[in-house]
Each structure stands twice: as structure tokens, then as C-alpha cells.
Symmetry: C2
Subunit: 183 residues, 2 copies
DNA sequence: CTGATACCGAACAAAGTGTTCTATATCGAA
DNA sequence: TTCGATATAGAACACTTTGTTCGGTATCAG
């Protein structure tokens, strides 16, 4: 990719996230973004179709990082042959913690809606494969959706409660999630 | 309240919900709303400050209905003196089911964000009082927030799965919610 | 009946959107 | 280093949307 494009793209992302820290997504105009990013109007539209497109691209950037597999690390399995869900989740939480400064602003208000949707799409891949038949009393589609929004909202909560570590948050999530069979 | 105001207000709500069935909140203009409601521009702004204000008012209208106490029905308590949470929730779900046609459109996309926020604010009142010390292993603020988003998202899911009854949905919720002590 | 008030509809300034154009600067590859 | 390709700046453009104002008309409540 051309260095010029990369520089522009970064400048836009920087300006956008900075603005999201101070005001809501809907009230941010393209004008403000390009002023802050110090680029021309036509340049912006050469990169992104609309403001929504920009948000989508930014989320994609973040998730590509968050869901990147550890270098040289295969999905692990425990002794019973099931995937190590806890390990995967903690791994994701670590990366999210690193990106906190980018994410916190997005999660406020309307833009959070879009972020959460993309986030949960990715999470379906994680949970979909790992889901056994632990809870035959619940419709599978309800259970899957439940787990993804549980984790997504847990993350959203965590972003405003800096004092907890990824491990603690992971423990909270698994303690509250409906993964074990009902007593 | 003046009949004229009431008529206008109703016409706007009707037009707004109808538009939300077909297109996203952000892409609806005030112009479309007043055209469909067949009212003058200045009239709209005499009633609502902005589009967000309209959405807020509509949500308020809906929740006033949904959370209205049954006529002459006191909050019941079971034999141990705790509030009948299951009964209250099922009651709320019934009203939500009745308002499905108004709600479904709102819940799509960005407007859902606002709806869910107001919804959860109300739910905090319901859960806050009924919460015991069942889960000392979780921070109380996390638990409270967890319960409200659980129910709110359960409702959102339900609105697109018409085949379930309020009783069934209530059962799903309580089966998945972290209310019982961990085994 | 009558005073109050809600409505209509047109006009308005202001701001934002997305496109198009030309000139300029920067890039990557030979 | 050179050179063709391409990204950018910046201005101009038509267009939509927003929120306000105002004088005239219709409808309300008492």
C-alpha cells in the first residue's frame, strides 16, 4: 500500500477516535474530521464512502488486531478434546485491553451499536464451534446469541471499569454465563 | 391536553414508527416525518426539539405502558418475603408483546441503542430492589448490569421470534440468568 | 361568543453532503 | 536519477437538511 494512503488513513482514524472521545458519533461532521486530520475533502471521499463506512473500517482494523491468533499458537484443546474456550476469551480480552483508548469512545452512544454488532459477528465464530449440548433446556439460537451479547456487554462494561484485569473479567464472564448444565 | 396537540402527537408517532419499519433511524429526515404525518414544519418543532427528542418521547410513551402496574395489583411477595420477580417480569413481557408492532422497528439499528438504554434504566428499578446476596462471587454492579442487559437483549431477540410466548421467554431468561448461587 | 392557542405554509440562513475539476506533490519501479 | 502513475489539496458546485421566524387561519375551552 502506498505510504501516502497509509498516512492519510492513519490521520483519519486518529482524528475520528479523538473526536469520538469528546462528542457523539451522530454530531461529528466530515468537515470536522478532515479539519482535524488536516486532509482535503476529496481525499476523504477517495478513502471512505460515508461516515458509516469509516466507522466500519475502523472497527475492522481493531478486530483484525483483537482476533489475530497468537503467533505460532494453534487452537488448544483440553484433555476431553474440547477447545480451550477460556484461553481464547482471555486472549481476546488482553488485546481489547490494549486497544482500550481506541474503543472506549466508540462504545459510547450510537457508534457502539455498530461496534457491538461487528464484535458479536466475530464472537459467533468463537462460540459457535465450542458449543456443546450443555443446555438442552434452551434453544440453541437463543443460547448462542446470549453468549455473544454477554461477552460483548461484559467488555463494554469493562471499558469503563479500568481496575479489573483481563483474567478477572474472564472469570466474571464464565461465572455468569449459562455454560454449565442447570443444577 | 388540547385535542389538537394530541392528534398531532399521535400522527407524528404513527408516521415515525411506520418509517422505522422501512428504513433506518439515521436516514429518516424530519421532512419525511411531517409529510407522512401531514403536518406543518413549524408544528413539528413546536412539539419536539429534535429527532432524538422524538425518539425519546416515543420510548417514554411505550415504557409508561409497559411498566404500568396492573390495576389494583400490589407488588406480590412469596412466602419468604422476597418480591415475586418472575411475576413482574412476565407481566412486563406481556405488555411488550402487545406493543411489538411499535417496538420492532425501533430496535433495528441505531435507534435500538437509545431504546435499550432507556429500557435498562427502568429495569434497574425492577432488579435493584429484588437483588439478594445470591452471588457473592460477582461484583454487585456487574451483576445488576448483567441482569438488565440480559433481559433487554432477550426482549430484542424475542421481537424477531414471534413464535414464543411471554411465559416461555420468561423461562428462558431465568434459566440463563445468573440468579442462583453457583453450584 | 370570544379570547387563547395550535396549526399551516412559506421563506430564510446556516450547515453539511458528496461530486468534479485542475494543479501539485509524492510515490515506486526501472 | 528519471519518469509515468497516482494520491492529495483546494476550490467550486448543486443539493439536502436543519431549525427558526412570521402573518394568516382554524380550532379549542369556557
Amino acid at each position: 500500500m502506498d505510504r501516502r494512503q497509509l498516512k492519510t488513513r492513519q490521520a483519519v482514524f486518529e482524528a475520528f477516535t479523538a473526536l469520538l472521545e469528546t462528542k457523539s458519533y451522530g454530531s461529528i461532521s466530515v468537515q470536522e474530521i478532515i479539519d482535524r486530520a488536516n486532509i482535503g475533502r476529496s481525499t476523504f471521499y477517495a478513502h471512505f464512502e460515508t461516515k458509516d463506512d469509516l466507522l466500519r473500517a475502523l472497527c475492522g482494523e481493531i478486530f483484525d488486531h483483537v482476533f489475530s491468533p497468537e503467533l505460532g499458537r494453534e487452537p488448544t484443546h483440553d484433555f476431553s478434546g474440547r477447545r480451550d474456550l477460556k484461553g481464547e476469551i482471555t486472549h481476546i480480552l488482553y488485546h481489547l485491553g490494549e486497544s482500550r483508548s481506541y474503543i472506549r469512545g466508540i462504545l459510547r452512544r450510537e457508534s457502539g451499536e455498530l461496534f457491538m454488532r461487528y464484535f458479536r459477528e466475530r464472537l459467533e465464530g468463537v462460540f459457535g464451534g465450542a458449543l456443546g449440548e450443555d443446555r438442552p433446556d434452551l434453544p440453541r439460537e437463543y443460547l448462542l446469541r446470549h453468549l455473544t451479547w454477554d461477552l460483548a456487554e461484559t467488555v463494554r462494561w469493562w471499558m469503563d471499569h479500568e481496575r479489573y484485569t483481563p483474567e478477572e473479567v474472564s472469570r466474571f464472564f464464565f461465572a455468569a454465563a449459562p455454560l454449565e448444565p442447570e443444577a
